[in-house]
Symmetry: C2
Subunit: 894 residues, 2 copies
């Protein structure tokens, strides 16, 4: 490698983040802007990567570049590194491209040793200060570079303070500090098996290597994995001349945010300590002062700080998180970066920055991390309250809920009627638990994945749900559940958080969901920019109303089968399925028809002319029936009960035989979707009739109707052709040709079987729209059963980096995406006005929405609560790809 690897702060700028890391780039930018930054230099991320490539060895070139930079720094400061007369002291800090915890922390005062410490004492005429600096170096170096547990040093300090009879470090005398230094050196020799290096160059080399190596410590690795940060960025190292906040009462150090990071309010927010060095503020041994009090203690410094904070915010056009130090009344800025903030503050700050004219609307939108919005849009746990996590399961349906635990649907209903709040806990749920789910605040199951019955139903109802909590043993007979030796009795209060999968013992206070004024503004801006339409998946009239409030421009998916699960309908659905002959089935279907019709009518009314996409029945029929295992248990119970129950037993046995006949080896790939509609035409006929009757009633009432009828699981054009003909025939019969010619309905298909995507050019001529069902399309394209994969190999695959992400959360653009592109392109080559959209769970994921925008789809459809995210992500995509933006150019520093 022949590239330059070390850069003085004067040489860099904010644009060199990849090479200098975030911190280094900001220090350089601030230096160039004339801010009071102590001089120093940055070792580049490339140097770090070369170090790894060379099996963790620093090259000779790098070493000499560091020496040269050090020389320049010595010249600038008029001090010499390791010179006892006037020693140059430096700090060493990591600085990766993306800010991340887990990396090596700061080492201060590097350059002190047994000789130079005396020089510092003499030069500052402050022995206590010099010894304090030295013992801090020993402690940090021992801990961070030589990997000695912090408690070893803390024990020594604690003992010494006891001996000295003082409670604060700063009350230790110079003599006591000298003893502390000796004890620390002894401790280092003992724990690290080597002495503290007196050679200051060796100190520096070891510290730089420690920074490099901290890139690969396990905490950093995990953080990167969770936050999808690539492993091959490496970290830079910043070496900066020291300034001292701990030289006396006219010194100090602090951290300040230019705006409130919790609320977003426009106010300086932060804290500082007099006579202290950096880590004291966060260490918690002394209580820092709010930054406002600095205006009393050091008015000139405060005034300068306020001015600089404003300047920095204007320069970086975002809220800043600034570290500062005051040495003998003089203010230094050690670091600035875009401040971390919570979801609410992010929204407020972005909106305010636009209103203040600092950034454009597009900038504000791009700064919103859409995945964080989830927290704003559901009730959440008040995280400031200490909690005891009982178990963690799959985060199956977001939102938090508090209630008394009930172990079956009957108890849940009884308690609910008595006005209690209930959390239903079941090993897994079946359609027979539906009434219990309906009355509960939230659901826990100990078995089942993200697409288990409980998860699907809970998401459909918008109820919090934690699934597959496998550590929990539910004992239905003893009416209790346990994790190890910890017991929860029926009736105990618990709290669940469906966004994180946590189950917590006790009543935890909740935080309400809210769409603030600022969020509303951002959403309006997003709507004016985005190209993708945004629809919602809604299975009932209530969800459709919610969706409209959240900005849905239509219903992208109405899963009619979810209307089958309610208490009064399920028995009719079961009768329909179990019918011995077509006559009996028709009778049951005739009962269902008015129910479905009423639902559809209400949905169409609620959406008032916006498109409503209704999917015909999709799941296999056995999903509506009790499980064989349960029936066998019932039979056993009848056996044990004895007495005259032969006819009852016969009925159960006959039911078992029917359940067996419908049983499938791989239900995911079995008799479902349009395969049902073709083999049992009477079921789809009823649904189609209900849809058109509902449309007819709406039209009579003067409601505008835009209807899309979606045929699920098409794999061959003939399936759609046959069903489209039936739909058109029934439509004409009910509405008459005249109304139909107004074009009030379209017929299309869910593209969720790979073959449908591959043969899209054959399907397009008879489809008005393609709706990509990316859940099933992902399952079939990967050959993954989500129910099986997520609990088993899939987490292993993501952990081992065999897959970059869980493809059910982030759309796989290379495989599944290729099918979507192919289907869209070849479909439109036949029918240019083919409407295309996506209605899987990916419709609410940012990366996936970006993909949909790039691919030129017409809309995305997601759950109502993800609509705000989708609207903003769609705008971000429009801005990122070829959108004609009017973003303001970078403001000059004022």
């Amino acid at each position: 490698m022949n590239n330059k690897q070390v850069f003085d702060f004067q040489e860099g700028n904010a644009g060199m983040k990849t090479l200098l890391g975030g911190k280094g780039a900001h220090l350089a930018e601030m230096t160039r802007a004339g801010l009071p930054v102590p001089p120093g230099f940055t070792i580049s991320t490339e140097a770090c990567l070369s170090y790894f490539k060379a099996d963790n060895r620093m090259s000779d070139e790098l070493q000499s570049e560091i020496v040269a930079a050090l020389h320049r720094l010595e010249t600038l400061k008029g001090q010499k590194f390791g010179n006892p007369a006037d020693p140059l002291l430096v700090s060493v800090r990591s600085g990766s491209v993306t800010s991340m915890p887990g990396m090596m922390d700061t080492i201060l005062n590097l350059g002190l040793n047994d000789e130079t410490v005396e020089g510092l004492a003499a030069k500052t005429n402050n022995a206590r200060f010099a010894y304090d600096c030295y013992r801090r170096l020993l402690q940090m170096f021992g801990n961070v570079v030589l990997d000695i547990g912090g408690h070893h040093f803390e024990k020594i300090v604690h003992r010494l303070k006891q001996e000295e009879g003082v409670s604060q470090d700063q009350d230790l005398t110079p003599d006591a500090l000298l003893r502390l230094i000796a004890d620390f050196k002894h401790c280092i020799q003992l724990q690290a098996g080597r002495p503290f290096p007196q050679d200051v160059r060796e100190q520096l080399t070891l510290a730089v290597e420690a920074v490099f190596q901290s890139w690969n410590n396990s905490r950093a690795k995990i953080y990167r994995k969770i936050n999808r940060i690539p492993d091959d960025q490496g970290t830079a190292v910043n070496i900066q001349s020291m300034v001292f906040g701990n030289r006396g009462q006219d010194c100090g150090t602090g951290v300040v945010f230019t705006r409130n990071p919790s609320t977003g309010a426009t106010e300086l927010f932060g804290e500082y300590l007099i006579n202290a060095q950096g880590e004291d503020v966060v260490a918690g041994t002394r209580t820092p002062q709010p930054v406002a009090s600095l205006s009393d203690e050091m008015p000139a410094v405060f005034e300068q700080l306020v001015r600089l904070a404003k300047q920095l915010e204007q320069h970086y056009r975002d809220m800043q998180d600034i570290e500062f130090t005051v040495e003998q009344g003089r203010l230094y800025i050690l670091q600035t970066r875009n401040g971390k903030r919570n979801a609410q503050a992010a929204v407020t700050i972005a909106a305010n920055l636009v209103k203040e004219g600092t950034i454009a609307k597009e900038d504000a939108l791009q700064r919103i991390e859409v995945s964080h919005l989830d927290k704003l849009l559901h009730r959440g746990i008040d995280e400031s309250v200490a909690t005891e996590v009982f178990a963690i399961g799959l985060p199956a349906s977001p939102g938090a809920a508090v209630g008394q635990v009930a172990f079956d649907a009957d108890v849940a209903m009884e308690w609910s009627q008595a006005g209690k709040k209930v959390i239903l806990a079941r090993p897994e749920t079946t359609p027979e638990d539906i009434q219990g789910v309906l009355v509960s605040e939230g659901i826990i199951t100990s078995r089942g994945g993200m697409t288990s019955h409980a998860a699907v139903v809970a998401r459909g109802m918008g109820k919090p749900c934690v699934c597959g909590c496998e550590t929990i043993k539910i004992d239905e007979e003893q009416r209790q559940m346990s994790v190890g030796s910890r017991l929860v009795q029926e009736g105990d209060w618990i709290t669940i958080d469906g966004a994180s999968g946590r189950v917590i013992i006790g009543e935890v206070p909740l935080r309400e969901a809210e769409i603030t004024e600022e969020l509303s503004e951002l959403l309006e801006w997003a709507d004016s920019i985005r190209k993708l339409k945004v629809r919602a998946n809604a299975d009932n009239p209530h969800d459709a109303s919610v969706a409209k409030q959240f900005g849905a421009e239509g219903i992208g998916l109405c899963r009619t089968e979810h209307m089958f699960f309610s208490a009064e309908r399920l028995p009719v659905v079961q009768r329909m399925i179990l019918a011995d002959d077509i006559e009996e089935r028709h009778q049951a279907l005739e009962q269902l028809l008015p129910m479905q019709q009423a639902d559809f009518e209400a949905m169409l009314t609620n959406m008032d002319g916006h498109p409503v996409n209704i999917r015909l029945l999709d799941p296999p029929l056995h999903e509506f029936l009790p499980k064989e295992k349960e029936l066998r248990k019932k039979l056993d119970d009848l056996d044990r009960a004895g007495g005259d129950n032969e006819s009852e037993k016969k009925a159960v046995l006959s039911l078992i035989r029917k359940v067996q006949a419908l049983e499938e080896v791989n239900p995911m790939l079995g008799q479902r979707g349009c395969r049902l509609g073709i083999v049992y035409p009477e079921i789809y006929d009823m649904q189609i009739e209900a849809i058109f009757r509902a449309a007819s009633r709406c039209i009579d009432k003067g409601t505008k109707v835009t209807l899309e009828i979606m045929v699920p699981l098409v794999g061959h054009v003939n399936e759609l052709a046959m069903l489209r003909e039936r739909i058109d025939t029934i439509g004409e019969r009910i509405l008459g040709r005249e109304i139909l010619e107004r074009g009030i309905y379209q017929v299309g298909t869910m593209i969720e079987v790979p073959r449908a995507a591959l043969t899209a050019a054959q399907i397009a001529p008879i489809a008005d729209f393609f709706s990509f069902g990316t859940n099933d399309l992902t399952q079939m394209t990967f050959g993954y059963s989500r129910d099986d994969a997520e609990g088993k190999f899939l987490s292993h695959y993501v952990d081992q980096k065999i897959l970059p992400h869980n493809p059910f959360q982030v759309l796989d653009t290379e495989g599944v995406g290729l099918l979507i592109e192919w289907a869209t392109t070849s479909g439109r080559s036949i029918k240019p006005n083919l409407k295309t959209g996506i209605c899987g769970e990916h419709g609410g994921d940012k990366d996936s929405i970006f993909f949909c925008h790039r691919t030129g789809l017409d809309y995305v459809s997601c759950s109502p609560f993800r609509l705000p995210m989708a609207r903003i992500a769609a705008a971000q995509a429009a801005i990122a790809y070829g959108y004609e933006k009017t973003m303001k150019s970078s403001l000059p520093i004022s």
Copy 2:
């Protein structure tokens, strides 16, 4: 339509089959060749299709063309249609492009009515003949055109013969025949509600329409569906002037094949009747004479027939099926067509025609219907013996077997040891039945599809198997099985035919499989022509030997898991799976290693340098374990038994828990294939070690080794990358770098997950070969679980023509094929020498082999018994697509 719709025989030729139908084209060709064909004309298939399009109405143009053709015919024959003085009589026959049963049969003597019959009697001076002709016309017309059941006419004839006291039709007097005519006319009026048309033009129109309509009768439709004949061909109608084989003792009619259609022997084969008309030969009321006796009865006619037969065979360059009539000593050829023949005859005739110089080798190969070869290559039922079919199930593994039925594996083993032949009948089989399967002649199951355990195991062992015989109720307690009221007791003799799915009561004689000398010759010719290599799927050394005998050029797929099912191994495999810790698992794996090594060594030895492709473990582990249901039953039994069996019960309970933990919702899409190898590396490590140890031993013995290690179910390149690294590492450890550098092994992947095909360009760099696993690829591309689909909606889909074929039998070139083409093209764009093959069951299907040839794959791999078919189909593909053929040009008629 302005095209000419009616063609005189002189106008057509053999190349106009699509327009004139097979019969019409041949009549024209013969006419042009100067053969003694009674003159006539053909109404084209286009006329038929126009008739359908016009809602079954004949156009005016067509009617006038018919009239014009009739005039020309009258002129040629010097007779007039409907003229009582010298009436022209004609026959009307259907003639579709592809010969098929179910179409309307011949109507003879059309043109007779109450007047013309008297003219005919006068002209021929033979009233008996004339009345006989008329009553035949009435009968055929009534039956075929007016759709009156044949029994109505037969009853009348029968009654008349009783009254007359005669036994043969020909013994009826003219008076009796006149009465018969009256009765027939009465019968027609009664049954059809209309009189027999005296207008001869109306006769003709009705007969032509009846032919058209017979294209859409149900028998014809079913035949077309089974034989994949398109519905939109339509049929032609041939109208030919009558000659009479029933005018006296110097008349007769017969059918002759130019070679023996059963054996292929080069001899005139057929039969005739003196003084009879066409349908008498096949009607069975009189026993026809073998054609050889014609040399005594009519030596001159016989001599002419022999000469014409030879001429026709030379002209058409194939064995001919000729209908002839002798009228007053003069021979007429009424029809000739390529004769139907059985599989053995087809092979013999094709080979002989080459040797006689009539056709080229390529012609011979193209004439073999490869799907018929199946019958030659397995034992089959002697179809000449009358049988009583008990039930029909899925044809899961071809071949026929006879034995005494046993209802469990223990009985099967006991009887087998006692020297009995056994057919094992089970509701379904599990790995625990393996020993029973091993000792049985064949297997029946009442549940499970073409990929059920029984089917897979039986095909692997080459044993006949009929699966999913759902009509059979097996009663294990009563030791009997039944279909309705018909019972088979344990120990009863039954016969099964795994090629057709038949289960037959009793011992049916079997026909042995044989590769005749002629078939060997054809196979050699095929080998010299085909471009595709042909390999076999073989799971054990024995199958590898069989495969080599059948011409395998390598093993395309060795499913290592099939080696796990044998009696002494399964317990070890189960111990490995159920191991409580890694230590215990390693112990079991160490036991398995030498077993697998020995298998691989024997396979490599048997294949002697030909490539051997070994696939690492593929199925989910639960496939090797007993089912939960069985274990629960065991537990119940222990419960009932009572006594001190607590520890035994505990063991079963613990096993149940482990089985439950491995249970999957969709096992097809679950933890299997390389997902197993990645999550449990120790299993693949053992297999890889066994493979390389076997290779090492072979190399030491001087055996040439060409090894391919195949990683199943890859969906992402990283899976293959990780496993390839392990394979290479273990290979180097065992064989050493030096041997490896000779390139004795390759690593590749099965492309069976759609995503693997889509991302082939990413996978190709680290794969030496792609082997398309079209079974799973079809399942995932269609979203069909074969186990569920075949028993349920798939047959409905094929019946309803939603799908053209069952995609598990015939490769879906539009969807699955697109993935194969994409993967091949994009893989080779990265790695031009990428080896590609197909190893699903499609490897033995003709259309699929044609597709593989077109796509440019390197090889197909199929089960050993399908190799001869594959070799011939591959040659047919090479001939059909761009092969530089040296086929002789059409021979001139001699």
